[in-house]
């Protein structure tokens, strides 16, 4: 059991590192690739969990279905759809981010430190592994949120939303060892339709505003 927790700990750390890599990416295609790598790591977590239950406790855990769905939806389908969307829209935005990259990385470090402090204040999470799992998951969620508000392209906002969802799944699997099946499937369906609808809206934004720079959507104020 300890070696399983060690392995999961290492994978969750790698996901946190990939979140930092995401913040430092400059171009759209590279952050779609980073997102794909992060989703592969998440599918690995779910898969290792399912395989452990299969081998050690001799029962089929539904986490394996989730691993399969993550691979199909987040590793294959959504990055391909986003790359096709990027090719079809005008993406020449001069400067994609509001704060430059070194400052963003320092802010992300500050976010992780803040979440460390907050989680240590909660008395229930004092086992080492559970504490680190919660810290990593919350940090990925907050770094995804920071990425979303730092980028000016509409596709950056979609990727930020997807990273937040990656963090959610990570927390669901690592802390509660899987939510009820119906709920997880429903959440997947909702996220998939949300991303599809956002993709359609990026298309419409491009047609109406001739660019996907979110900073240009300034008509409704006050």
């Amino acid at each position: 059991m300890t070696s399983l927790l060690d392995l999961l700990n290492m994978l969750s750390m790698l996901i946190l590192v990939s979140a930092f890599v995401l913040v430092s990416n400059k171009r759209v295609n590279s952050y779609i690739k980073t997102f794909r790598m992060q989703s592969i790591l998440l599918a690995l977590i779910a898969g290792i969990f399912g395989i452990y239950h299969l081998i050690e406790e001799k029962r089929f855990d539904a986490v394996l279905i989730i691993c399969l769905i993550i691979v199909v939806v987040k590793v294959i389908y959504i990055p391909n759809m986003l790359s096709k969307l990027t090719k079809n829209v005008e993406y020449k935005v001069e400067k994609d981010f509001f704060l430059n990259i070194p400052l963003s990385i320092i802010i992300c470090c500050g976010i992780v430190v803040l979440i460390w402090y907050v989680v240590t204040l909660i008395p229930e999470f004092n086992e080492t592994y559970r504490k680190i799992f919660l810290i990593n998951s919350l940090s990925v969620i907050m770094i995804g949120l920071f990425f979303m508000i730092n980028r000016k392209k509409a596709i950056g906002q979609i990727i930020g939303f997807l990273v937040i969802e990656n963090g959610m799944f990570m927390s669901a699997i690592l802390i509660t060892f899987g939510m009820p099946m119906i709920v997880e499937l429903g959440i997947f369906f909702d996220l998939l339709s949300a991303v599809l609808i956002m993709g359609m809206f990026v298309f419409r934004i491009n047609k109406n505003f001739d660019s996907i720079d979110i900073n240009k959507l300034k008509n409704l104020k006050g």
């Binding site: 229930e124 509660t176 939510m179 709920v183 949300a194 809206f201 505003f209 409704l220």
Partner: protein, 494 residues
Amino acid sequence: MDYIIISLFSIPLITCGVLWLVKNKTIINLINIVGATLILVNVLIIISEVLKHKKIEPTFFYNAFYVDSLSAILLLITAIIGFMVSLYSISYMNEELAKKIISLRKLKIYYCLLHAFILTILLAETTQNMGLLWISIEATTLASAFLVGFYNNKKSIEAAWKYIIICSVGIAFALLGIILLYYSSTQSFGHTIHGLNWVFLFNNANGLQGSILKLAFLFILVGFGTKVGLAPMHTWLPDAHSQAPSPISALLSGVLLNTAMYGILRVMIIVNKNLHSTTFTGRLLITLGLISIGTAAVFILVQRDFKRLLAYSSIEHMGIIAFGMGLLSPLSVFGAIFHMINHSFTKSMLFISSGNIYLKYDTKKINKVQGVLKVMPVTGVAFLIGIFAITGMPPFSIFSSELSILISSFNKNNFLGAALILFFLILIFAGFINQLVKMFYGKPSSKEIVKGEISKTSSMVLIILIALISVTGLYLPGPIKTLVDSARNIILGV
């Protein structure tokens, strides 16, 4: 009797499916009305059942569905306003079709999305599984995204983009709260299939862990609070509610905000029972409520667009409801639930009349509209009455509920809160009267404006709503009072 809930969901589903196949305009309108009437009848049967037996607990799908008095009140509001909106949509969309602003295909899409939206709202109000509740509330955002961006111009697309991004991120935080809630439940009771059911969590609330519940409540308050429109998470609301077509604005303001509040309330009941005190949740709700009312007051004073002004008024009233729920005394919770009902009816009436004004004058700007009382008497009177009703004038219903909340605030020695609310209400009243009364008098500035109402259907809807808000201010019918009383007891946890 358990099958009444299955029929409640199958009606909008079948309506949506059938509407997709039909090509004739009159048949589309007919199916739309028949669907809305059947939902209303179904909900009335559910309410009579809840009055007899206190709750409906069907056992299929692992006890996923559960209707008690709190859900029943929300179902009643949804069904009545859904019916009014479907009736009004016919005249609104027919007018837009006649002016060639939309095509027949867009009309079909509108009605299909309208019924799909109503289906997701009904799903959110009848489920007790917290995960399914989250899924339905996210589904309402997705179903209404295309309705908000319906007109496909620059402003609508900006409004729809802000709506879908801000609400989805907010609701993602609510999901984190629900995951933490489930974590607490598995820590105490292991992995059961009932781990996310509200009745199970409420009965065993003392076995959960307090600090995790506090963290979960914070995330859920911020998350679902985005959907309710509490400041500072309200920035999507003025854009979305003003750019959507008017019947959809009525549905969004009147029904969806209440449903998101329902999500917060269910979790608040569990947390209060565990902590054995109401200060933690109460203080948060009171603070967010006061900030919302203040923000709304400041922005109402400077508005130039009448639909946007009505949207800020929705933020204000949701703040009042949050304040009432936060005080958690019997009178204030009664006032808050009553306020949910009153606000839905009054705001829908205002949005429907503003829709008529928009169709007649073709603009949303206040200074371009003049002489509404001469051009459209019924709409003008409804809008004028609505302005006084929404700012809290007797004998209309909003006065009664606001008075209850203020009285209980003084009873609980929260003098600062009550003083702030009174101050903001004065500002809002001043803003409303200063901006909007110009629209009613004088002569219409352009000669092309034809005198007369949009259609008899819209006038009929407005007259019914005026009657509803006037009557409930003075007399609450017996069954409704029983429902509100038992809902209040559920929220107080007794």
